[in-house]
């Protein structure tokens, strides 16, 4: 049995409610209208300072980083069987803090499994560990990159050979201009050394990882690579 609706029928218009001075067909009382206007004005005023401030805080997430190429030395400096450490600037304008070490050598058909193209005549490997970002060091004697933090070890190509790192060491695009090797933007690699837009350390990109850790608007691999 349906429960009878014994609530009072609400008058549809202010005139029906016998509010003095009601207009014909007016459905909102002036008191409610004023309340709503005051709240809206307050909301707009708050948004007017909150939204620009938030925009400023989150803007860098969507701003594209400029592509920069930095000379690291003449081609004859770099052999194809070992790495030469070079310092490059990742973030200009902040002195030592913005600098980082890259390990550079010439591409070697017998060692390298990354597909050869115009950007890897010289292989430039980051010193940032792909576990959580500590600085790795290339140890000549063992032909390994070794991380001091949690025991991450990488082989000569930068592929993980032990420890917690989730993917091979990132690389930088390189090109040769007038006999000088230049190092450009960073990119990431999956375990088959296929190129991906740069990810942060700790973000796996094999399998479902590439979707769990999407590439970001701020930094992308070069178009067509």
């Amino acid at each position: 049995m349906p429960v009878p609706d014994d609530r009072k029928q609400q008058p549809k218009t202010t005139a029906d409610a016998k509010i003095p001075g009601a207009y014909e067909g007016e459905t909102v009382t002036r008191r409610r209208f004023m309340t709503a206007s005051a709240h809206t004005a307050g909301g707009i005023a708050t948004a007017a300072f909150t939204l620009p401030a938030l925009g400023m805080a989150f803007g860098p997430v969507f701003e594209k980083e400029q592509v920069r190429w930095e000379a690291v030395g003449p081609t004859e400096d770099f052999p194809d069987d070992t790495y030469i450490p070079r310092t490059i600037t990742l973030s200009p304008g902040i002195g030592e803090v913005g600098k980082s070490t890259v390990y550079v050598r010439r591409y070697n058909d017998t060692i390298d499994s990354e597909v050869k193209d115009e950007y890897n005549d010289y292989v430039a490997i980051t010193s940032r560990c792909m576990h959580l970002g500590c600085p790795v060091r290339y140890v000549e004697a063992s032909e390994r990159f070794i991380c001091p933090c949690h025991g991450g070890v990488y082989d000569r190509e930068g592929k993980v050979s032990g420890g917690p790192p989730v993917r091979p060491l990132d690389r930088f695009y390189t090109r040769v201009r007038d006999g000088i090797v230049e190092v450009g933007p960073r990119y990431s690699l999956n375990s088959e050394l296929r190129r991906f837009s740069p990810r942060d350390p700790g973000q796996a990109i094999d399998g479902v990882g590439q979707y769990l850790y999407p590439s970001r608007p701020s930094i992308r691999k070069l178009p067509g690579t």
């Binding site: 860098p60 997430v61 980083e65 002195g95 500590c134 933090c149 350390p201 590439s215 970001r216 930094i219």
Partner: protein
């Protein structure tokens, strides 16, 4: 001349206190006391704050209340100490990537009492984290999170997260090797959160790499944003404590009146 703050009801709200001579001032009531009392009276007449203060301070507390109940206040004093020492550290600190380290070195080695105040802030941050966990353990083991105090537990969890966020953002500020690499690792850990992680770490760094504004960003979050939110949250936490009262320890049993006891018949 002045009277002690009167309890509400003796005179209608908004009327002036009587200014007529008080009955023969006791000789031991000196001028200083008079001034103090009349100042408080003046304030109270205009704000009625004494009622609120009494509500907050003269609460009934359950039988069995013990020293463990002071851990919350201890945490609050640790926060106050952080806030005060932090404000004065900020007078010497320079949040720029090229000058931060030097400004902390100067503050530590050259400024009078600088090393001491910095030390209080540095060790105090650890003390605060330890205290907050002890306080949390107390409320947990005493079952104080149960109805009707669930919301206070939730606010407490928010305060815990904010406190840890304070430690994380503060750790970068001295800008030495340890700060830098700990933050690099910390931001990377944060980036391993699926889907949003990569964007969050871009937000924290203000870009894809540790850059020119990362330090200033951490500094603003550390000294303005988080302390403000923490202070507001502590206010809400304490309001609920006063409003709901504290719980008795679990080993205290409610005492029934003797006539109602089965064995007393």
């Amino acid at each position: 001349m002045a009277k002690l703050p009167t309890t509400s009801g003796t005179r209608p709200r908004g009327t002036r206190a009587e200014t007529t001579e008080a009955p023969a001032t006791a000789p031991q009531r000196n001028k200083l006391q008079e001034t103090g009392v009349s100042t408080i009276d003046w304030l109270d007449e205009r704000t009625s704050l004494s009622a609120g203060a009494r509500w907050m301070m003269f609460r009934k507390i359950p039988k069995g209340t013990n020293w463990f109940y002071t851990l919350g206040s201890a945490t609050m004093f640790a926060f106050l100490s952080q806030a005060v020492t932090g404000v004065f550290l900020a007078m010497y600190y320079d949040p720029s990537a090229t000058r931060a380290y030097e400004s902390v070195r100067f503050l530590t080695n050259e400024v009078f009492l600088g090393e001491f105040v910095r030390g209080m802030h540095k060790w105090g941050s650890t003390v605060m984290v330890i205290l907050i966990f002890l306080h949390m353990a107390r409320t947990f083991f005493f079952g104080a999170y149960k109805y009707p105090r669930e919301l206070n537990w939730v606010i407490g969890v928010v305060l815990l997260i904010l406190t840890l966020a304070m430690s994380f953002t503060g750790y970068l500020l001295p800008f030495d090797q340890r700060s830098y690499w700990a933050t690099t690792v910390g931001v990377a850990i944060n980036g391993t959160g699926p889907l949003v992680g990569p964007y969050l770490s871009d937000f924290l760094r203000a870009g894809p790499e540790f850059g020119a504004t990362t330090l200033a960003r951490f500094y603003a979050i550390h000294m303005l944003l988080l302390p403000g939110i923490i202070a507001a949250m502590i206010g809400a936490h304490l309001y609920l404590v006063a409003r709901l009262g504290t719980t008795a320890p679990p080993w205290i049993r409610a005492e029934s009146s003797p006539e109602l006891r089965e064995d007393s018949k």
